[in-house]
Amino acid sequence: MQRTRYGLAWIRARAAWLALGLLALPMAPMHALAEAPVVKLATLDYGLKARALADGVYVVEGANDDFTPANGCNIINTGFITTGAGVLVINTGPSKRYGEQLRALIARTTAEPVVQVLHLNLHPDYFLGNQAFADVPRSATPVTRAGMQREAKSYEDNLYRLCGDWMKGTESLLPSQSIGPGPLRIGQREFELREYQGHTDSDLVLIDRSSGVAFVGGLVFASRIPTTPHAEPKAWLRALDALPMARMTQVVPSHGPVHAGAQGQQQTKAYVAWMDEHFTRWAQSGWEMNEVLRAPVPDNFRRWAGWPAEYTRNVAHLYPRYERAALQGPKQP
């Protein structure tokens, strides 16, 4: 009986695969222009490097991987931008040590002082480096600030467990001020800040008007299984459709390679839509979570970084909601 069911699950999911194959867009391979940083475990050196994407616009790239001590738990792309009136820092990384090394890197790269930090969402590697930026204003949306306050303790515990020594001395230092969507002017730079929902309850996107470089935070994952601890798939799909891709010359996702064009947006959309559609169908067919965990996932997704652990997390985060909807049925709201 059990075996038959799994067999059935396999066949159903295979049929779904075919459907996806027909819809999938041909996608050029994404060129990673930079390699993962060279990490020195013995000295806890992240090996951070600043890469200029445009005049005064820098990305500091992490590994496109999962949190492990081997990569220093540095899987995020942070950034900084000179303005003529000081440096704007975008996200501060996973630890105190990262924050310090990022600040030192900025000092090596430009003579301008750091004048502001911006957090694009509430996730731990967006703000656990804040101790190194205690002397500058740190901005996030009100929703993100509330979320960080709620989750900070469990983030610290979890990253200490996963990353060990890299986290030494790290304590969460929360943002100091609120910021909303709209134009943001610092020195000679004009930025556009846009707020969306879907990856989290508040996802900021920063576009540098003059260069067109866009820091899209967690809304776009490039060649990496999206993370979903605070995700709302349908809202996320709407946000991806609303992103002004045409205005972005280069897209800096928080996870995965920097790229031009809509490839990352399309990848994220394909994955989130696939999950939404299949989780709905599987829940309506009475599938158990263990069947969903073992369901065949399209090959193109399985080649991305973060597979398979991130899919296990996706199922844990999201499938119970689809189940609830299916079990409550049409009668009860």
Partner: protein
């Protein structure tokens, strides 16, 4: 075959049935436990009584995730093809409360899916008692971030549990067309905080018994649930053919609150 007879058989290992020989061959300090767990001997003593007949048996399948992303809700499916299963028990070696549930399949298949609270990385075992009095033990290993049993549940945190206590939502799924067997699966969600009693200031408060009855009031299966079962339990049961509905779900918690609900 009584226990004395069994023991003398075992001493003549060459003539012993296969499972007895396996048990003898595996007589190490872990009694052949594939997970080499120091808790196993204690578990066996506590839950199976003195001198139980036990065999580690891959035919008792336990499916879980490789790691517990949400240690408050670790999904487990247990199932076996063994005939004549009387009872199935789920034990977790390294949980502070180690018994999760016990199923009497009766007219249902020897299988149940559920979620439970995992305190730390541990073997998760299913023990199936067959008609010959032998416990067949299967398991899986689940890694954990920790903290499942000593963290309060969501409805306890927001206080909403009292408005939904005992509500049941469920559906009976028939196998899709083309399936070799005309089986059926019952999925249930029962609203209950399932407090373990290990969180400071919140006494143990959990469902203790659930049973499923068919339209003719025949009892189809009986389930005992313990503290580690997750908040608002989601359960699946399997049937060889669809039972005549509407099904009635009856149960009780350790405070005497009754569950009585129908699934069409």
């Amino acid at each position: 075959m009584n226990r004395r007879a069994l023991m003398s058989w075992a001493s003549a290992a060459w003539a012993a049935p296969l499972w007895v020989r396996d048990a003898l061959a595996a007589a190490d300090e872990f009694d052949g436990d594939p997970y080499k767990s120091y808790q196993w001997a204690e578990l066996r003593k506590e839950f199976l009584g003195p001198k139980p007949r036990v065999v580690f048996d891959a035919r008792v399948r336990v499916l879980g995730p490789a790691f517990a992303e949400d240690p408050m809700n670790v999904p487990i499916t247990i199932a076996t093809d063994l005939p004549g299963v009387q009872r199935m028990m789920v034990l977790v070696d390294r949980n502070p409360i180690r018994k999760v549930l016990e199923l009497q399949p009766m007219a249902a298949q020897p299988s149940v899916s559920f979620r439970f609270k995992l305190e730390q990385a541990s073997p998760v075992r299913a023990l199936a008692l067959t008609a010959d009095g032998v416990w067949h033990v299967g398991g899986t290993w689940v890694d954990s971030a920790g903290g499942g049993c000593t963290v309060a549940g969501g409805t306890r945190a927001d206080g909403s549990w009292s408005q939904t206590l005992g509500q049941v939502s469920g559906r009976l799924y028939s196998a899709a067309p083309g399936a070799a067997e005309a089986g059926a699966r019952l999925r249930l969600r029962v609203m209950h905080p399932m407090d373990t009693g290990l969180v400071n200031g919140i006494p143990a408060f959990h469902l203790t018994r659930l049973s499923v009855r068919d339209a003719g009031d025949r009892e189809l299966l009986r389930l005992q649930t313990f503290e580690p079962v997750s908040e608002n339990p989601v359960l699946s049961f399997e049937f060889a053919k669809p039972p005549p509905g509407p099904l009635r779900i009856v149960g009780v918690d350790n405070n005497g609150n009754r569950i009585d609900s129908k699934v069409e």
